[in-house]
Symmetry: C2
Subunit: 444 residues, 2 copies
């Protein structure tokens, strides 16, 4: 069927010289850590905020696209075939010696507002390093190796995480892209169109399992477990689920001076109690491991001399145990209802997203464990509190997740840090794991 090759697949071959942000040379230092450090510095400079304010490279902005273009240029320089899919994911391929299912690795380049330089970026830089090592060392592999940069992993802009990897998992309905909006009211579909993508063709981004064999992501831990336990590498068994919802409290706005305490229906006081209840439930020993966070609380009208008439509490409840995750969210709502009744305010609860915990396949974990063990015995199995593209990819392809340490466990802040040496070690383990998968009986 020769016509297939002529079909418009919505995918664009990447020609770095013609693209904004391309043409930044791949560092050629012999030392892997030094190369990684240079790549991290280059990517950190692509930000909508000044360096001291951290990295701001939100999903589906020209800034995120510029970072994709730089990395696409690097893969092109290494000699890989690079394309961008309709959802904005960048995919570089190093052909295998046989016509087999691909083995993939990769992560994301977008950030939260005023975030760090490593979250997602470490895994992208590691994948560039792996591609470079394969070429330089002339390592052959039977399966094609694919290096993926996912678009829009952080939920910060659209309240919806893992947008690009949800597309490869085939889980988007095109109409939902119109319904999801950012704080300025721009829909995800519109944001995608503004950077030249094709939201109406989102289904074409999905991966077929006959094309793909396995996937491994390297990511920074974003917690302090590896550091505090003296481990250098973490093999993830479980990824926490996350229930995100808003409790919208309606009280009665009035003057702060002339309204006696007894006649108030203060929406913020109720919201403050709800915030503390969420924390209390997470700290309850029966909820060991649950994390409840109020990351955002908006107060209306927000004037010093007006009793708040409305307050919106934005909650995130995470757990590796799905029943405990949903029970805790329900308990918060029930306790909030009691608070509302006592205070004479009313509540509206809106579920924003709800993802279940994910168990990653044992055989992939086993491959990563063997790869780690060949480099060091300072590794451990651990769960991930944060969401990752891997959990979406894992819905269609067996996937694994490898952690490198985060200094002080800091994440989503300008102070986020992982050493280039740790990422270099992770890259070598990642290369080893991909080669073990290349030879794995499950994939031959």
């Amino acid at each position: 069927m020769p016509d297939i090759a002529l079909e418009d697949t919505g995918e664009k071959p990447v020609t770095p010289t013609g693209r904004e942000g391309g043409g930044i040379e791949l560092p050629s230092s012999a030392d892997l850590a030094a190369r990684i450090d240079t790549m991290l510095r280059i990517l950190a400079s692509i930000s909508d905020t000044a360096p001291e304010e951290g990295v701001t490279r939100l999903a589906f902005t020209p800034t995120e696209r510029a970072a994709h273009d730089v990395v696409a240029g690097w893969f092109d320089e290494i000699g890989l075939t690079v394309r961008q899919d309709v959802a904005g994911n960048t995919i570089a391929e190093d052909a295998g010696t046989d016509s087999l299912q691909a083995i993939g690795t990769g992560s994301h380049l977008d950030s939260v507002p005023r975030g760090g330089r490593f979250d997602g970026i470490a895994g992208v830089v590691a994948s560039v390093a792996v591609a470079q090592m394969l070429k330089e060392q002339g390592i052959s592999h039977t399966h094609p190796f694919r290096f993926v940069v996912f678009a829009g992993e952080e939920g910060a802009r659209f309240g919806q995480p893992c947008i690009g990897s949800k597309a490869v998992a085939g889980l988007w309905q095109p109409e939902h892209l119109d319904e999801v909006t950012d704080a300025e009211g721009v829909s995800l579909a519109e944001a995608m169109r503004l950077v030249g993508l094709e939201p109406g063709r989102i289904a074409e981004a999905s991966w077929r399992d006959k094309d793909w064999g396995a996937f491994v992501e390297l990511h920074v831990e974003q917690g302090a477990v590896l550091e505090t336990q003296g481990s250098l590498l973490g093999i993830v068994d479980l990824i926490s689920g996350s229930t995100r919802f808003e409790i919208d409290v309606a009280g009665r706005a009035s003057h702060s001076g002339s309204t006696p305490m007894s006649l108030r229906a203060d929406a913020l006081s109720a919201a403050a109690e709800i915030t503390l209840v969420a924390e209390e439930l997470a700290n309850d020993s029966r909820h060991r491991g649950t994390r409840c966070t109020v990351g955002k609380l908006t107060v209306f009208p927000g004037s010093i001399t007006t009793i708040p008439g409305r307050a919106v509490v934005h909650l995130d409840v995470r757990d590796v145990d799905s029943a405990r995750q949903r029970q805790t969210a329900n308990q918060i709502v029930r306790r909030a209802e009691l608070i509302a009744e006592r205070r004479g305010v009313t509540l509206e609860v809106r579920l924003r997203s709800d993802t279940s915990p994910v168990v990653l396949p044992t055989w992939i974990r086993q491959v990563i464990t063997e790869a780690c063990q060949e480099h060091t015995d300072r590794w451990r199995v651990m769960s991930s509190g944060a969401s990752h593209d891997t959990q979406l990819v894992n819905t269609v392809i067996p996937s694994g997740l490898l952690f490198v340490p985060s200094r002080g466990g800091l994440s989503h802040v300008p102070e986020e840090w992982s050493s280039a040496a740790d990422i270099a070690r992770g890259s070598e383990v990642l290369l080893n794991a991909l080669l073990k998968l290349d030879a794995h009986p499950h994939l031959t």
Copy 2:
């Protein structure tokens, strides 16, 4: 000294036809309440928000100025001499038969964001009604009567209430006008210049006690005391003091998924506790009458998946007892320090403003009481929870404050309401009180 008349006093005679917003005719209906209702409707239409969202007419905006211009036009139509001082206060004079100290009345026209149609406006409309009644009924008076529209009474824009009346009290240092800024970083001095005022000459706005004898303001109650007790008029004896401060909580921002509860330093949780402590202290029976309000709470970075690294709690503590007011503010800070220590966060406390309670002079209260009694026996003496221009004017001239009922006690919200009939009654009492002052032995 004929040259004095040629000096630039910084004051501008008002010529309504040449000014934006002028030329709106004074309602001429024979019925006082109908006139008042028409004036209220005209002024409510001068707003930066749509009618259903309440009135937004912030201090020193073109919108506030437009409202001043409309009222200046009305005073001009009645036949009064109208001028605007360097601070933006509009002052209309009805000459007396003798050369004596002036007797004044008036209020303000600015609002909080999405506020009501009566706060301040009722007193301005009453003063127009009084001026109209004096002319129509040919009532003569020995003292000049002055009708004042103060600029910038609400603290909403600059965190600083009673800007115009503070100027007439001679309490501004010109350099402070550069230090006070709004949320956009515009200084008060700059805002004043942008609407054609002269902040550098603010001292010239101050009133000299040889020029002024007494002042009475009519204002809506902004509480529910008159309504719940079936009273039609309130004579204010005390105005609450207000201590306004910010507690800036610094914790540690981090990822909501990967940071265990035990390793958190959540600035918002601490802020929530502080919010509830302020409420608890106000509700404590030993603090009877204290009102504590957190009207504004800002959370940084404000992302659902990031533990807040910073939260700023904006507090307002009010009491008619100055010792109790300051003690309560100090207790909140001490309790906040204990919370901070326990939670491993740090605090910075910034005092924004601190005004003492004000006792209004007994003889003015007596005059207002007699004026009320001649109209109805449904009046009562009460304190004011809210601040008023009167308390600043009272620092230089003996002043009084007359309340009319607020429906449901609602204030600083679009639903704020006082009936035109109640304001008409208040206007008649106000006229009566001014005439009693005109004949009072203290002023002759």
